[in-house]
């Protein structure tokens, strides 16, 4: 039987064999109480290839500068807190491994674009969630299911909207969209994804309401199909395809 251990396990020497690198991070800092404009600050951090960018931010905050400010929670890509621009691309810091970046050059980290900058890597998420709320992102069913029973839905009908149920509302897509950058009124990809999730749910009866909302001048027709959103989605949702399906549904009606 194993026993609880009082001494450190002797894995330190073995771990030392794994090579650590010094990686330079250039982080766009901003504290509106102090700074007139955002500024870039560099930090050198000892990292392993399998470390995540979030690990680097933590090492900086915990060992060098406690004032570095960012959001994070689950640290494995499911809560959607830590979307940021890493080397110019929208990604989750907790899903971006050092080995997948070119560390011969500094790694640039900045807040996502298109939402008001609050401090360092933190933006005001409220406009993003306001767009989300506008598309009525909840089931609206006219029929009552049999008391104490589930509504019946075939495997095939469930599959139609499977992809868009994966959304974690991280805003990586919306804040990667050039249309959203220039026109903050545009609903943005994430709101459309969440409308799609209900428009194509066979249990829902309010597709026409949502399609009307998205037929607005700030709706789906603003999409210029640049695929930035699809590239940015950390959940692998085919965002541009979902937007195209909503466009089709506006023209031809819900399938």
């Amino acid at each position: 039987m194993s026993t609880a251990m009082l001494e450190t396990q002797s894995t330190d020497t073995a771990d030392a064999a794994i090579q650590a690198f010094t990686v330079t991070f250039l982080i766009r800092r901003f504290d509106p109480d102090v700074d007139a404009e955002p500024r870039w600050q560099d930090f050198d951090v000892e990292m392993y290839a399998t470390d995540r960018v979030l690990d680097a931010l933590h090492k900086i905050k915990w060992e060098q500068d406690g004032s570095l400010t960012f959001r994070r929670s689950c640290a494995h890509g499911i809560c959607g807190s830590d979307a940021m621009r890493i080397n110019g691309r929208n990604r989750l810091a907790c899903k971006t491994l050092i080995k997948d970046l070119d560390i011969s050059k500094p790694i640039y980290v900045e807040a996502i674009k298109g939402l008001p900058l609050e401090k360092d890597l933190v933006v005001d998420m409220e406009p993003f969630f306001a767009s989300y709320r506008e598309v009525q992102p909840f089931l609206i069913a006219n029929s009552q299911p049999e008391a104490g029973k589930e509504r019946i839905q075939s495997i095939a009908k469930r599959e139609i909207f499977d992809d868009t149920t994966k959304c974690i509302l991280c805003a990586a897509c919306t804040s990667s969209c050039p249309v959203f950058w220039t026109d903050g009124q545009y609903f943005g990809p994430a709101a459309i994804v969440n409308a799609h999730r209900f428009i194509f749910d066979s249990r829902d009866d309010a597709a026409s309401v949502r399609l009307d909302i998205l037929n607005d001048k700030e709706g789906v027709w603003r999409c210029r199909t640049t695929f930035n959103c699809t590239d940015a989605c950390p959940r692998g949702i085919e965002v541009t395809k979902a937007i195209a399906e909503v466009k089709q549904a506006i023209i031809r009606g819900k399938p």
Binding site: A4, L6, E118, F138, R151, T165, C167, I168
Partner: protein
């Protein structure tokens, strides 16, 4: 704060914002939002959360939610009740387990009716899969009881509950850190009258006056290093209750989930084994056959975690350091992995560079779930001792201890717990609020929090938050994890005392008001130190092995002495670094209805 909603009776006095609601819910995970859906239509309700609701850790739950729907094979809520009691090694309160299993069916149907996209059977009903410890007819064979949405069931529950909160126009105060429960002395009895919260965006304090308060603040897995828990799971709610002198129950029982990605702790759902994945040691042996011949890899988590540790301790671990075992999914085929287990397949690929379609995945136990917490009765009312309730105060979800999980929770019973007892908390809080007037607030209710924050921010301390927390977490992993002894627990007791001394000298580098996460991390560390101390103190006192609490020096279950709940109270000098100076332990009887304790074999 949701700008669409009306501000309710806000005033500002001496820089502190005052709000008034019938019901205030602290925490916007599954339990909090389920309570809000129940409370919102019947009472003026606010939800305050340190995160945006969709960031809550309910969203990380993967495998399923148990309910004896019998959609795919014969099942009954009685069997579910029995499995829950046996799974909890007979420390479960049996009346509560019966409610959990009975109300599970409506809880799942409620979620489906609210829109949750469960996986479906060929007939279009909710599909169900196998999970650890859930059996047919009192242990005869595994049963398909877990309702699921791929391996993102928790994500879909969190999203569905949030969607329905949006539908109902529930008022949220996002990124507000609750830091104190305000109690008012009414005729010699302490009554809850409000919550004090710190608004992360502005650094300002808010007092939420309420008739009823529901705690749904989740767990505290960050007392350990290797954990499936989010960085934000620092036990603030449980810590607040503790500091008020209210008891905490069964804190020694912490669940270590068997299949965390080795070295990282990121969770791989038990649903993988439910779908047929197998644990193997270095030689490829399916070692669980030796330990649990009937249900093998689907034994409850405490047992599987111990067996894995034992395989490694006896030299049968895999890898260059023989320090992990392997989760073999290769025979499941790409289609099952991509459709039923897509997220964990991606986790293994992303974080370990291992493709589960072709290679077994290195795994080891990871700190996952607190069975203990704020004691409540089955109405979700918080207890102030073994029997008396604190009127108007409720708790539900991981922060609470009903106790439906006893000394070891079964997989899929936590998503169930948050729905059943979240709903009960919300419903009962409305009834309570309807019948009472507001309790008056004491003078300067935000005073203690303001002083705590000012002291931390203004201190010229030299100790780094990160350094203290790292040492705490590493020492807890080494000494209070799957296997414990009096020696290891005594050692970590001394470590915690030393860390509590150092914490007095902690440094907050960020001196600003806006988004000061440095300051909040210091506060969170204080809660972690408090809770780790209670966990270890309670563990040392339980000189037996039961469920998630395995004592190498007392390897057997001792029903004669220990078939009772631990109740820990803060009493004496709370400032002292020594646990002996301020923790008092008591016992609370286990409620036994139908099932007498038996030897726990699988």
């Amino acid at each position: 704060m949701n700008p669409e909603s009306a501000h309710v009776e806000t005033k500002i006095v001496d820089g502190v914002h005052y709000h008034q609601y019938d019901i205030v819910i602290v925490g916007a995970g599954g339990a909090g939002m389920r309570a809000a859906i129940e409370a919102g239509p019947g009472a003026r309700t606010a939800v305050i959360s340190k995160l945006y609701p969709t960031r809550s850790h309910t969203g990380a739950a993967q495998g399923g939610m148990a309910a004896a729907l019998a959609n795919v094979e014969e099942d009954s809520w009685e069997w579910h009740t029995f499995d829950t009691i046996k799974g909890g090694d007979y420390l479960v309160d049996q009346d509560a387990a019966e409610i959990l299993a009975k109300e599970a069916i409506d809880a799942v149907i409620d979620l489906e009716n609210m829109g949750l996209p469960f996986n479906r059977t060929p007939e279009g009903k909710i599909d169900q899969r196998r999970f650890g410890g859930h059996t047919r007819d009192h242990g005869k064979a595994p049963v398909r009881r877990a309702c699921y949405a791929a391996d993102r069931t928790g994500h879909m529950i969190l999203q569905t509950l949030f969607q329905n909160c949006v539908k109902l126009g529930i008022e949220f105060y996002n990124e507000y850190y609750a830091l104190d429960l305000v109690m008012t002395d009414v005729d010699g009895v302490e009554q809850p009258s409000g919550i004090v919260a710190h608004d992360l965006a502005t650094g300002e304090l808010h007092v939420f006056r309420a008739k009823a308060i529901i705690f749904a603040t989740g767990g505290y897995g960050k007392i350990f290093k290797t954990t499936s828990n989010a960085h934000t799971l620092t036990g603030d709610g449980v810590g607040i209750i503790w500091r008020k002198g209210l008891p905490l129950e069964d804190m020694e029982f912490f669940q270590f989930h068997p299949t965390g990605l080795a070295g990282l702790g990121i969770l791989l759902t038990e649903g993988a084994r439910g779908e047929g994945a197998i644990l193997r040691n270095a030689s490829g042996e399916r070692f669980m056959e030796r330990y649990a011949p009937t249900i093998k890899d689907l034994a409850p988590r405490d047992i599987v975690s111990r067996c894995m540790q034992q395989e490694v301790a006896e030299g049968r671990g895999a890898g260059p350091h023989k320090d992990y075992v392997l989760l073999d999914c290769t025979h499941l085929g790409a289609e099952v992995l991509e459709t039923k287990l897509p997220d964990i397949t991606e986790f293994a690929r992303t974080y370990l560079g291992v493709d589960p379609v072709y290679e077994p995945v290195p795994v080891m136990p990871t700190a996952h779930y607190a069975m203990g917490g704020i004691p409540t009765n089955v109405a979700a009312e918080v207890l102030r001792d073994n029997t008396a309730v604190v009127p108007g105060l409720y708790a539900a979800g991981e922060c609470a201890c009903v106790s439906v999980h006893g000394s070891n929770r079964l997989g899929t019973n936590s998503l169930l717990d948050i729905n059943v007892f979240g709903k009960r908390a919300g419903r009962n809080a409305v009834e309570y609020a309807k019948g009472v007037e507001f309790t008056p607030l004491p003078d300067d209710p935000a005073g203690p929090v303001r002083r705590m924050l000012d002291q931390l921010r203004d201190s010229n301390g030299t100790e780094r938050i990160g350094a203290i927390r790292k040492e705490l977490q590493e020492e807890m992993d080494k000494n209070a994890q799957v296997f414990r002894t009096d020696e290891s627990l005594a050692h970590v007791t001394e470590v915690i005392a030393r860390l509590r001394e150092r914490y007095r000298n902690v440094a907050v580098q960020d001196k600003g008001k806006r988004f000061n996460t440095d300051l909040l991390e210091a506060v969170e560390l204080g809660f972690l130190l408090d809770l780790a101390e209670v966990v270890v103190f309670s563990a040392r006192n339980r000189r037996e092995s039961r469920g998630g609490h395995m004592r190498d020096d007392f390897p057997n279950r001792d029903d004669e002495q220990y078939m009772q709940h631990t109740m820990a109270y803060l009493s004496g000098d709370p400032q002292s670094s020594l646990a002996d100076d301020h923790i008092r332990l008591d016992w609370k009887p286990v409620t036994v209805t139908r099932y007498q304790p038996m030897e726990r074999k699988y």
